[in-house]
Symmetry: C2
């Protein structure tokens, strides 16, 4: 196999190619996109040995940098593929193929007048730009989600995964092209150089949505250096608030699960808020359980009057530890809890534990976050658990898509208007013809009006 | 009345105030928002004399600049208010009050497991930033749409309307505050200095959506100088394509309506494409009608072989004339029409005239634009005509909201999860509990689970 396709053309040219490919890709039937995804999954299995060899070259280089202290063990682990990881990747691609088609759905239909019908139809966004680090499986997952949703994609992986990414990219593109020959050339582009990221961020003429994955500072860098819409999140500073009317056994289990079940992820809790009326009872119990699990506790003054904890400083309230560390504050009311969370949270996921429905409603309405939970662990904030299918990402932005985002987040819509020659002149001026503006159930199909008349 | 409220605080402080106000505003009941809107409408009528006086100061200054050749007559006309214009503005505010509440709607409901229910609920976006020119009625319209949708708003009008804008802003804010006293102080902020626009564009920590209105170059400037999402459009280069299977009488009427009915607006046609097989018959007829209406025609070579027209140069295919000028090209196929439009259009509104449903479907699927029409005038692309109610704007961006945008475009959503203490630990690891993931009809209400159990 040649590596020329990925290395001998400029990032500018590749992005322009993706833009052309997107127009054709948008109109592929579902069966063609799914056939191509199955071919991609098969090809990953068939080329497993070569992919593992390429990955091994990356891993060997990374081990040297690990010894030199530049990489962490976790970083090298994420980079490392194995036969069973590759099987999992192939299965993931097949499961994306098996999801409902996000395209061509009629989201709304409205009669504007006799024989004048408006349809809002789901379509791909166009060209996605994905920048990710370390994990080569991210490349396959993003490419699969893009193909399923009819979007072209420009992929930029980390330099540490160069050999893995090149071979995976080549495998995917060749498999998709061979699967019936209908998938537009150029739908998935790999760019490699660090300076190509800058090019990508500048191409607002061609790239419709950016999906950065990586450290909080990296996502912030992307957000601050482009006018292209960004789907992503910089951090998850999530909270659990134990209300005065909480069932304390439940509160203990949820607060424990939210921190300990998987502390490294963005929907783990970072600050626990406890109503002063239950703090004396609740805090010693939960503190014991946390300590058994090795959680370091940092508390405000009122917390430290009740349990042993390090002093929480101002920064603690805004820190995503991503680790077995938890900040704790005692508050006087639901209103105080809401204020603290809106002032310090990252608009990701917040949970209240209470048997008082009014308090829960005040919390859920008052908190400005993508996900607000009542009597459930923050860890449920996830595309799979929410039933959205494959997760595209979690967004803490407030427009387009918010919270856990599924394939629907990679679509937009188009208005189709079917008429029989209507002119605006008839609906304007004196004695304008009125609109009927009636919603109806119906899907856009070609020649909808003529079919109906027949 | 004092003008201190608008002039003695920095734009930074005003934007931060809007951010605080937004949190409270988001939770106002519909009746409070509607009462405030009716109070605003009444106050505009009650203060009509003072508003017209203030406007007169702006108009007098503008007339001087008109004489000096710096302003156009149309610009001064847009700036000028009258008693009847003010009545129209008050009516517009009342009609916004009368629209369906865009907030608190349950957009989807899904059971994740027994007693674990997920609701997707519509909420305000937060803080809007609106920058507009000349028309003081824009200030009232944007403020009314913001209040209805529970968003705080930072308003920046043109310096030519300074006195009008100050008094309108003060009138609105006082009326809303007096209407029951529940509308949060600071929900509508007026900023005035040119350098304050720069401040607004930089406040991505506080402003969630920008709505620039004005010239194409101004909207481009905003898009290129902020990382805040932008709702708007730079230009409308719209097309009508007359297919080989067009009913030519219909084609003539639609092509005429799309250009002549109101040439200054963004949904008017700028380029007419005609299939070569009907060009010989169609072009002389439509050219006669256009000439009678004073439309200047610019054609490619094949057009000019059939009718008299100026030579169209490359720039003509990408120009929004906004005037009685039309470019015409003869094409060989639907595919050629699609290619021309995707290469030169502005993704706004495109129309095909044909009796061939397959050709129409290919066109509607193949064109990358917010609105694609079959046998209807491009002029229908409008929030009111689409039945969306008050129009927030037209977006040629591809994420969040596309095409004509109604109040829904000023909302986002939040996930509410109602549980009874569920932990992720139970759904992970070995023998994980399965999710049920079943959609159901139902609206989120406080204590939904406890109500149901009772």
């Amino acid at each position: 196999m040649s590596e020329h396709t990925t290395t001998d053309r400029s990032a500018e040219a590749k992005i322009t190619d993706a833009q052309s490919a997107a127009l054709a890709l948008a109109n592929l039937p579902e069966s063609t996109r799914n056939d191509a995804l199955h071919a991609v999954a098969d090809a990953i299995e068939d080329n497993a040995d070569a992919i593992l060899d390429a990955n091994n070259r990356d891993v060997e280089a990374a081990e040297e940098l690990l010894e030199a202290g530049e990489y962490t063990r976790a970083f090298v682990d994420r980079l490392t593929l194995s036969a069973s990881k590759l099987d999992g990747i192939a299965e993931m691609v097949r499961s994306v193929a098996g999801q409902d088609d996000p395209l061509g759905r009629t989201l709304a239909a409205r009669e504007l007048d006799d024989d004048l019908e408006l349809y809002k139809v789901s379509v791909p966004i166009g060209v996605l730009g994905a920048v990710f680090e370390s994990r080569p499986d991210a490349l396959v997952q993003i490419a699969a989600l893009s193909l399923k949703s009819g979007n072209a994609v420009v992929l930029k992986g980390g330099s540490e995964a160069t050999h893995s990414n090149r071979l995976l990219h080549e495998t995917i593109v060749e498999a998709a092209a061979d699967a019936g020959g209908e998938v537009s050339d150029g739908w998935a582009q790999l760019i490699e150089a660090r300076e190509d990221v800058r090019t990508l961020l500048e191409r607002d003429d061609a790239v419709d949505l950016l999906m950065p994955r990586g450290s909080s500072s990296f996502v912030s860098y992307v957000q601050n250096n482009t006018s292209i819409p960004v789907l992503g999140h910089t951090e998850g500073v999530c909270h659990v608030y134990v209300d005065s009317e909480a069932e304390l056994g439940m509160a203990e289990d949820v607060a424990y699960d939210a921190k300990v079940q998987y502390p490294a992820v963005c929907n783990a809790v970072e600050t626990l808020l406890v109503h002063e009326s239950v703090a004396q009872t609740f805090l010693p119990e939960i503190a014991d359980r946390y300590r058994e699990a090795g959680v370091e506790l940092r508390g405000d003054e009122r917390t430290r009057e009740i349990i042993d904890a390090e002093v929480a400083i101002e920064d603690d309230w805004r820190t995503e530890y991503g680790d077995l560390i938890l900040a704790i504050t005692v508050v006087d009311s639901v209103a105080d809890a809401i204020r603290h969370i809106n002032a310090n949270g990252s608009k990701h996921t917040e949970s209240i534990i209470t048997e008082d429905d009014d308090a829960a409603a005040r919390f859920m309405r008052g908190i400005d976050a993508a996900s607000v939970f009542h009597n459930a662990s923050t860890r449920f904030a996830d595309g799979y658990r929410f039933g959205l299918g494959a997760e595209v990402g979690i967004s803490t932005g407030k427009t387009h898509a918010r919270g856990p985002v599924g394939l629907e987040g990679l679509t937009t819509y188009k208005y189709h208007l079917e008429g029989d020659g209507q002119l605006v002149a008839a609906y304007a001026g004196e004695n304008p013809r009125p609109f009927t503006h009636t919603e109806f159930d119906g899907a856009w199909t070609p020649g909808r009006l003529s079919d109906r008349d027949a």
